[in-house]
Amino acid sequence: MIRLVYAELTKAKRPLVGAVALGFLVAAATFAWQQQAAANQLIGFVDSSLSTPEGINQSAGSRQLPTCDSLGLAPGPECDKVIARARQAYQAQLDAMNRQAQADRVAVRTAAVQQNPLGAGQIAAWLVASLLGALAAFLLAAGQFGGEWTGGTIATVLTQVNRRWRLLVAKLISLLILTETLLLITWTMLAALAFLFRAEYPMPPSNQVSAADAFSVAAPLLARSVLVTATFCVLGVLAAVITRNALGTLLLALGGLIVWMMFVLVPALVKVSIGYWVSGWMGFTDGGFSSGQVWSGVPTGMSQPTPWPGLAGLVALLIVGLIAATVRFQRLDIS
């Protein structure tokens, strides 16, 4: 199997892989830069007392709730209803302001973590677990597996490989190695950029994050992203054995993923949406990556995704996808 994986990695020495990596790195650098610029504008607010719950209450409290007199209504049930509605609206506004303040604090902390080379892996992990990461994995799957049919090499390969499932597993492992390598390269690039970010958008000492803290933020995300990336690779491999060409692999995998993400638009399907699972597993909730992420958020009023349903969904998807791809590949005629 090691020789087979090595053969697959040798095939990856091609312009397509370089182009995917370059595109991903540019996107990651741009995204990280935007995060820094946005956080830089928020520092003043976050560091002020206005962003604390008390400060928010105070600024919101300056607005008077209406009275029956100010409404021109006679005291009684009708007036009470109007005042209750106004109180509800006021509370909702207060909640939204608190959430926004929390998001702003997280954005500043994220930027602070990002200014430390050890924490720079945070955005790399986010991005490989985003739609951008999915696109990269699908492009690699299209080139490395779907391309075997498009290029006509599949027949030659299968006359060399003893068992088809071994080739499929080798493809999967090599794709995972390629995507994880992409993650590490992105981390390395962002670690180098961290010094630039620190110089361009200096943080007040109170907002700075130690190397240990930065790493303790990034490391779990990096570890969790492996499962998401593996799932994307399985989806890419499945699309390849279904469509049996490079373009079809990309279109089916990406199209299927986008349709699956749109499940969040149907309340009954929200919890079986892949976006819900990934968001839950990676912790892409309000105040985190959600402000800039490419996964659809859950509809207002629904509980935010949590890690365990996300883990269960992704593991189930990985296993089912792998079995489906293997069965399909075993039964295929190479005609």
Binding site: R3, A7, T10, G151, T156, T159, N162, D333, S335
Partner: protein, 305 residues
């Protein structure tokens, strides 16, 4: 030639939707034999080869390869294959392509790539990217791929496609050398003269069926007699041989079917004609092939001659 069976196909059938590609093919290839599959495009040759190699799943029937019922991946380790136009990874060199294919399966000899390149005379071009190769060079590299693991069995689909005359000659010599060393070779080809020069036996296929099995050595058995007489005596000879329905091919040259040399000699002697030569003409495989294809004996069982 040893009489053990390298490949046995029984009742092999394959359908693609409503299209029938192969119907009830029975075929036996002996060890050390060079066996040719002949037939027009769409006759089912490639499908049969792919079923033997495990690339296509038979709809019905069974296949035994080197004594083991297929599909048996371990047995296929001992087979080398060239299926249709060989394709390579164009961004890799010829040597890298071979190494990738070698690494994709069971280990071969340490110098397998170098040896295979040398056998097909591609050493000089081995370090060029395959996207720069001509079709003939691709075919040679495909042959090298098939030879990587010193196979006991070679399955070759149109192996001479794209080869120039020198390449075809080299290929023929390579096949003969491999056969002499005990390698069994099953090939399909449109080049009938090459098949005739290489193969011990051939099968004619039409519309997915084997319509005839022939031994190349036995080709003469069904061929005609060529009789040379003096042009002044040809009219009398035609009359005397009327019962054999003679044909006048050229002045003084007659041919008859279905008669022995002794019979013809005796008939001519009775009328005082002494032929300057009576010989059995060896028919070409092409003639026999075209005759078989035109007879449309699609429902007849295959005949072994």
């Amino acid at each position: 030639m040893p009489d053990r069976e390298a490949i046995v196909c029984r009742g092999l059938t394959k359908r693609y939707g409503d299209q029938t590609a192969v119907v009830g093919v029975d075929l036996t290839v002996h060890e050390g034999e060079i066996f040719g599959l002949l037939g027009p495009n769409g006759a089912g040759k490639t499908t049969i080869l792919k079923m033997i190699l495990g690339l296509v799943h038979p709809g019905a029937g069974e296949i035994f390869v080197l004594g083991t019922k297929a599909p048996c991946p371990d047995v296929l380790r001992q087979a080398g294959a060239l299926v249709e136009t060989p394709a390579f990874y164009p961004w890799l060199t010829g040597r890298q392509n071979l190494q990738v294919f070698l690494d994709s399966g069971s280990p071969g000899p340490p110098d397998a790539v170098t040896k295979a390149l040398a056998v097909v005379e591609m050493t000089d071009a081995a370090d060029r990217r395959t996207k720069t190769y001509s079709r003939g060079m691709g075919q040679r590299l495909g042959m090298a791929t098939a030879l990587l693991r010193n196979p006991k069995l070679l399955v070759l689909d149109e192996p001479t496609n794209g080869l120039d005359p020198a390449g075809i000659r080299d290929f023929r010599q390579l096949m003969l050398d491999l056969s002499a060393s005990g390698v069994t070779i099953l090939l399909s080809s449109h080049l009938l003269t090459e098949v005739e020069r290489l193969c011990h036996r051939v099968a004619f296929l039409s519309r997915g069926r084997v319509i005839e099995l022939r031994s190349i050595d036995g080709l003469a058995a069904s061929n005609r007699l060529r009789i040379t007489v003096s042009p002044t005596q040809q009219a009398a000879a035609l009359t005397a041989l009327a019962e054999f329905q003679p044909q006048l091919e050229a002045p003084g040259l007659l041919t008859v079917d279905g008669a022995s040399g002794e019979q013809v000699g005796a008939v001519l002697a009775r009328v005082g004609i002494f032929a300057s030569s009576i010989g059995r003409e060896r028919g070409s495989l092409e003639e026999i092939y075209l005759a078989a294809m035109s007879e449309k004996r699609l429902d007849d069982p295959p005949r072994l001659r």
